[in-house]
């Protein structure tokens, strides 16, 4: 990785941290987690699980929105505003530019997930008497959530290299949604013995991001055991999937005229 790529990442992070959208979503998500304390009072005895569930879900949902809406603007906004002109006219490769922008997005998402994890951890610490908090499972769940966001952000960046910001957001959210739902659909099709659909299922299985695989909410909520090997395998899948998307984005952007 070149120093130019890291410079671009640093500026992207600085720009994201000045974005009102980020703050609106983060503040709303933190308020939601804090509000879970009140919501959990409605149920006797399950406060820990409710807070854990709301905390991890809020991190996923708001994180996905941040990843997609910041991600679609990373390249397209630079092109629309022409702020990339003086940068790309320097000895910076297009691939280095896209990777730098993406790394800046990852840093933003990492900060967001860390903040949400801290807020959820503080809330859960009030109820550790009800259920033991497995710190490794908690950390693994938020780490994999970060990778979910990394995949969503990579999708947004990929689409934004050849489409408008609005269409890119629609495409990215649709694929992320399909990736969430596909696990359920596949199970249904397999159970229904739809032999003629097996080919299609295989193709979709390979193409769509398996977001459920990167979801360890249940382990935090219900204390299900998590093995390190399983977490690493899931992480490798998420990182690999995002890596391929960013490589594709770099390839597309390298061939695109900036005008």
């Amino acid at each position: 990785m070149t120093s130019s790529t890291l410079t671009i990442a640093r500026v992207t992070l600085a720009e994201a941290l000045r974005d009102r959208l980020l703050y609106n979503l983060v503040v709303f998500a933190v308020l939601l987690v804090a509000g879970s304390l009140t919501i959990s009072q409605l149920t006797l005895g399950d406060q820990f699980r409710i807070i854990a569930n709301i905390g991890t879900s809020a991190t996923q949902v708001f994180g996905l929105l941040i990843a997609v809406f910041l991600g679609v603007g990373l390249v397209s906004r630079e092109m629309d505003r022409r702020t990339c002109y003086p940068a790309l006219a320097r000895p910076v490769s297009r691939a280095g530019f896209v990777v730098g922008k993406y790394l800046g997005l990852l840093a933003t998402l990492g900060l967001n997930v860390a903040l949400m994890a801290a807020a959820t951890g503080v809330m859960l610490s009030l109820y550790v008497g009800q259920q033991a908090l497995s710190v490794p499972a908690f950390a693994a769940a938020f780490a994999l959530t970060f990778l979910q966001l990394a995949v969503a952000g990579a999708l947004a960046v990929l689409f934004s290299t050849f489409s408008t910001a609005t269409l890119s957001a629609i495409f990215a959210l649709s694929i992320v949604g399909a990736g969430w739902l596909f696990g359920e659909v596949r199970a249904f099709w397999v159970a229904a013995r739809q032999v003629e659909l097996k080919g299609l299922i295989r193709v979709l299985d390979a193409l769509l991001p398996n977001m459920s695989l990167l979801d360890l909410k249940e382990s935090v909520t219900y204390g299900d055991p998590v093995t390190l090997g399983s977490v690493l395998a899931r992480a490798a899948y998420g990182a690999g999937y995002a890596g391929v998307l960013v490589a594709l984005a770099a390839l597309v952007f390298s061939r695109r005229d900036v005008r």
Binding site: S3, R81, R82, A87, L88, A89, P91, V92, D257, R259
Partner: protein, 320 residues
């Protein structure tokens, strides 16, 4: 052969626009050679292909055909861009940044860093008159201030070649003079300046060579003086104490003539007619006040070629 800062051979660019992928030929086989150390004015009307050429040279747009090099290195090689400083037309920067932050960001992308970068950046910001705006974000800059910042970032890494796209665009007369002075100062330091413009007065003032691009083609190119050689439209002869019969004879030879307080003024179609008239004036014992060849100005050449190109392309004439 002198070192070439820019060399383009058969450079073409075709854009596909709209849902029907309508074909637009922005450049058609452009050949260009810019010698190192010169100020080269690249002129043409809007849509002629100036910005497309520049964007190809700085790596923003890929050519559809042809080849281009900067100091002998192909433009596809990102290292070729280390040699250029680029000012885009109507430059924009991240508006949340302050000018020094912009310079640090872009300087780092050119391989600069540390105190040396800060020192150089502050020196340049002072030179372009932005030293009092260090605490302002770019969002609060006027158009002229953004243009000055654009110039400062272009020369930040002290590149041997400056590629400036409409550098005087949108500036007031003072701003234009400052930019002209900056270009001349850079040229005196041995830099090559390649700039596009449609303000022809700027070209006549500072350029060594000029290329005129029309309809994606280079229609005229050369040293500024050579563009006017052979383009003498008329020769004006002024004289006094002229007998009436000689005045009548000269009027018959001239395309026009007039009487003024100093004497008479005649416009002859070429040097030959002017010489014959001068012989008559001298033979009559009258005084020759001045002989002035009237050359086609760059602006007139430009307008004529633009009209010719439009006519040959089947488009509407530039002027009625």
């Amino acid at each position: 052969m002198a070192d070439l800062a820019i060399r383009c051979q058969g450079l073409s660019k075709t854009y596909r626009l709209g849902l029907r992928a309508r074909r637009v030929d922005a450049l058609q086989g452009l050949d260009l050679a810019v010698e190192a150390g010169t100020i080269y004015g690249f002129v043409g009307p809007n849509g002629a292909g100036k910005s497309t050429t520049i964007k190809i040279l700085v790596g923003l747009v890929a050519p559809s055909a042809g080849h281009a090099e900067l100091f002998g290195r192909p433009i596809a090689d990102p290292r070729a861009r280390q040699a250029i400083g680029y000012l885009p037309e109507n430059p924009t920067f991240h508006d949340f940044m302050k000018p020094l932050e912009v310079m640090r960001y872009l300087g780092a992308l050119s391989g600069l860093g540390g105190r040396a970068l800060d020192r150089r950046a502050l020196e340049l910001l002072e030179q372009v008159g932005l030293s009092r705006a260090l605490d302002l974000t770019v969002r609060k800059f006027s158009k002229g201030m953004v243009q000055r910042l654009g110039l400062a970032q272009a020369v930040l890494h002290d590149p041997p070649l400056l590629i400036l796209d409409e550098p005087m665009s949108g500036l007031d007369p003072m701003g234009r003079k400052e930019v002209r002075d900056l270009i001349v100062a850079q040229a005196r330091r041995g830099k090559t300046i390649f700039f596009s413009t449609h303000i022809l007065n700027d070209v006549e003032t500072i350029c060594d060579r000029v290329g005129m691009v029309m309809g994606g083609r280079l229609v005229r190119e050369g040293a500024l003086r050579s563009l006017f050689d052979g383009s003498v439209r008329a020769v004006e002869v002024r004289c006094s104490a002229l007998p009436p019969e000689v005045d009548s004879a000269l009027l018959a030879m001239a395309t026009s003539g007039s009487t003024n307080p100093e004497g008479h003024a005649y416009l002859f179609p070429d040097h030959g007619a002017a010489h014959a008239a001068l012989a008559r004036v001298v033979a009559a014992g009258a005084s020759v006040l001045s002989v002035q060849p009237i050359r086609e100005s760059l602006e007139e050449t430009f307008v004529r070629l633009a009209a010719d190109t439009r006519a040959s392309d089947g488009g509407p004439p530039l002027h009625d």
